[in-house]
């Protein structure tokens, strides 16, 4: 069964309609039939997908995600959708963008999409990052594709007049994601890599402590690295700083129905399981646990 051929959008054959299912206009989440504008590799590991969309999809905020109906290929028939956090949403241009790493059947299918192809995207889903207007400066630290999730947050912070310091971590300099987006908003940037040995724990900790001691860390944000999360959680507790982390988990429905995507959290009332799709994917850093 091809997911794309069974989309619920009622259109004439051959018509390239973009948009939410017409009868669903009043609803906050839509299964939107988007059209591929750009889908290209930006380095050895990552691809950039730009979609034209309409309706609720364009109201997605940083940290929220969509459940993508990845196409079948000759080799793969991904059955479930794949959750992916938004990289950029531009309501005026009617665009939703994603950054992904080709890692399995779903993303191999995504990589075959050509401009003009359609892709069903269910969303926006989950709770995005929140910014406290009292904050003056935040620190975001991410690794790999996790930086794609943090880039729109940094832009939202800049728009709200909050200064951003970004630690961009990657295996190699050539794989650092989205540096230009952090640069464009005037973020102070520290690039750390495995290649030159600067991404090690102690060095990143030194960076973070420096920012805290300079009074430039009202909150920590992280995504994409278990070790970075644990480090920031420890320092956030030590310096009494707020923190948020965007987490992943294998997922099916994305709407809170199936209870597949639970993770464990520590709360004042003891351990608790929460669904990444509806209780997250952004969680309080203090309650997040290692994976």
């Amino acid at each position: 069964m091809s997911i794309l051929t069974s989309l619920p959008v009622q259109t004439e054959a051959g018509e390239q309609a973009v948009g939410a299912v017409p009868s669903l206009g009043a609803f906050e989440v839509a299964d939107t039939r988007s059209v591929v504008v750009v889908n290209r590799a930006i380095n050895d590991d990552y691809c950039h997908l730009v979609l034209e969309a309409d309706g609720p999809a364009l109201s997605a905020r940083a940290g929220q995600f969509f459940n993508l109906a990845c196409p079948n290929t000759a080799a793969d028939m991904p059955y479930l959708r794949r959750p992916m956090s938004v990289y950029r949403v531009s309501p005026a241009q009617r665009r939703v963008e994603f950054l992904y790493k080709v890692a399995g059947a779903g993303t191999r299918g995504l990589a075959t999409l050509q401009p003009g192809d359609t892709l069903a995207i269910l969303g926006p889903l989950g709770n995005g990052f929140t910014l406290d207007p009292r904050w003056k400066n935040i620190v975001v630290a991410g690794r790999g594709v996790g930086l794609a999730t943090l880039a729109p947050l940094a832009e939202a912070a800049a728009e709200a007049g909050i200064g951003v310091t970004a630690i961009l971590s990657a295996r190699a300099k050539s794989l650092v994601m989205s540096a230009e987006r952090f640069e464009r908003i005037g973020a102070r940037i520290a690039v750390v890599t495995d290649e030159d040995g600067t991404s090690d724990f102690a060095n990143v900790e030194r960076h973070l402590v420096t920012y805290v001691e300079a009074g430039q860390a009202d909150a920590f944000f992280t995504c994409g690295s278990n070790r970075l999360m644990l480090l920031m959680k420890r320092l956030a507790a030590r310096f009494n700083i707020a923190g948020q982390v965007a987490l992943e988990q294998q997922m099916a429905c994305g709407l809170g129905m199936c209870f597949c995507c639970v993770r464990n959290f520590e709360t004042t009332g003891g351990p608790e399981q929460r669904r990444v799709c509806v209780e997250g994917p952004v969680f309080d850093l203090a309650e997040a646990l290692t994976w």
């Binding site: 619920p8 839509a30 109906a69 269910l122 129905m257 199936c258 399981q273």
Partner: protein
């Protein structure tokens, strides 16, 4: 206009399409209105609080989904106080799925659900019965009879009994449910299965084994419906891999009065609405005035079941 109404015992549904338990929640109301569905079916409730299984809880395998969720449940009082009001926003009949590890606890759970606006009980007897040997109630006719008899005494609500495909004698189990007072049977549930990651040598589910669902199991569920409909007089509700109106038609031809759409909703959240709409279009195209005429209309007269392949 095609008449889509079907009757399940005393209950009349405006169409034969409803969600399968566990693949639906009030959260789907963020995507579409429930008023267009034939019935609503809750995730299985248990009397006790349950946390559920370790992750990974989900793995895909072919055109199907393996799950090992473990029925996390906040209990029945929580459901009545917090979840039921959400469902009351829709006029569509609400069916509450219930499970318990013993017949007595099962009956106790069902008694707690004697509250307004619950249209029927779906007893999920595919769960382990700890009084016997941990095997699901619905694996045997005897344990099915015992639990359904208890449940029948415990509630005046329409009682639907959801059977498991993991039995060697589905007909005997179905008859046992009917004999002890079930108003309908739901056929079937997920199929016990597993998947292994050949790279890591590890099971792909945290619970090692899990339930398999989705298009991959449709032919098996269809066969089970056919076998059950042959031996019971109560309505059979088909469930297993139904994703399109054509699938629904097949199940109705095999003897189902109504159908449940489950895993398809995870892949395409509006799948149920499509099944309703396309079912009407199908009947229209075929000149069928009432969708209920499809039930059991399979043209198998004069044909024989392959005796070498057939299970009991």
């Amino acid at each position: 206009m095609v008449d889509l109404q079907v009757r399940i015992g005393s209950l009349t549904l405006k169409n034969p399409v409803m969600p399968a338990s566990g693949t639906f929640s009030e959260g789907l109301a963020r995507v579409f209105s429930f008023d267009d569905l034939g019935a609503l079916v809750t995730k299985t409730l248990t009397a006790e609080l349950r946390g559920g299984n370790p992750t990974p809880r989900v793995a895909e395998s072919g055109q199907g989904l393996l799950n090992s969720i473990g029925i996390p449940s906040k209990g029945i009082p929580y459901f009545i106080e917090h979840t039921l009001p959400e469902y009351r926003k829709s006029s569509t009949p609400l069916v509450v799925s219930v499970s318990a590890p013993t017949a007595e606890l099962f009956a106790g759970a069902v008694r707690q659900l004697d509250v307004p606006d619950i249209a029927a009980i779906e007893a999920n007897i595919s769960c382990p019965n700890i009084e016997e040997d941990g095997k699901a109630f619905a694996m045997r006719a005897s344990s099915t009879a015992a639990v359904v008899a208890e449940l029948r005494r415990a509630t005046a609500l329409p009682l639907w009994v959801k059977l498991t495909p993991n039995t060697g004698d589905i007909g005997a189990v179905a008859r046992a449910a009917e004999d002890r007072g079930a108003d309908a049977i739901v056929v079937a549930n997920t199929i016990l299965a597993m998947a292994i990651d050949a790279e890591t040598f590890k099971p792909r589910l945290g619970g090692i084994m899990g339930g398999f669902s989705g298009p991959a199991i449709k032919p098996i569920a269809l066969r089970l419906v056919y076998q059950c409909a042959k031996v019971v007089g109560i309505p059979v509700i088909g469930c297993g891999g139904i994703a399109t109106a054509e699938d629904a038609v097949e199940f109705m031809l095999a003897g189902a009065t109504a159908v449940q759409v489950g895993t398809a909703t995870f892949v395409r959240p509006t799948a149920m609405l499509d099944v309703v709409g396309d079912l009407a279009a199908f009947c229209d195209r075929k000149g069928i005035a009432k969708v209920s005429a499809l039930t059991g209309a399979l043209e198998d007269r004069g044909m024989q079941v392959d005796a070498l392949e057939a299970l009991p």
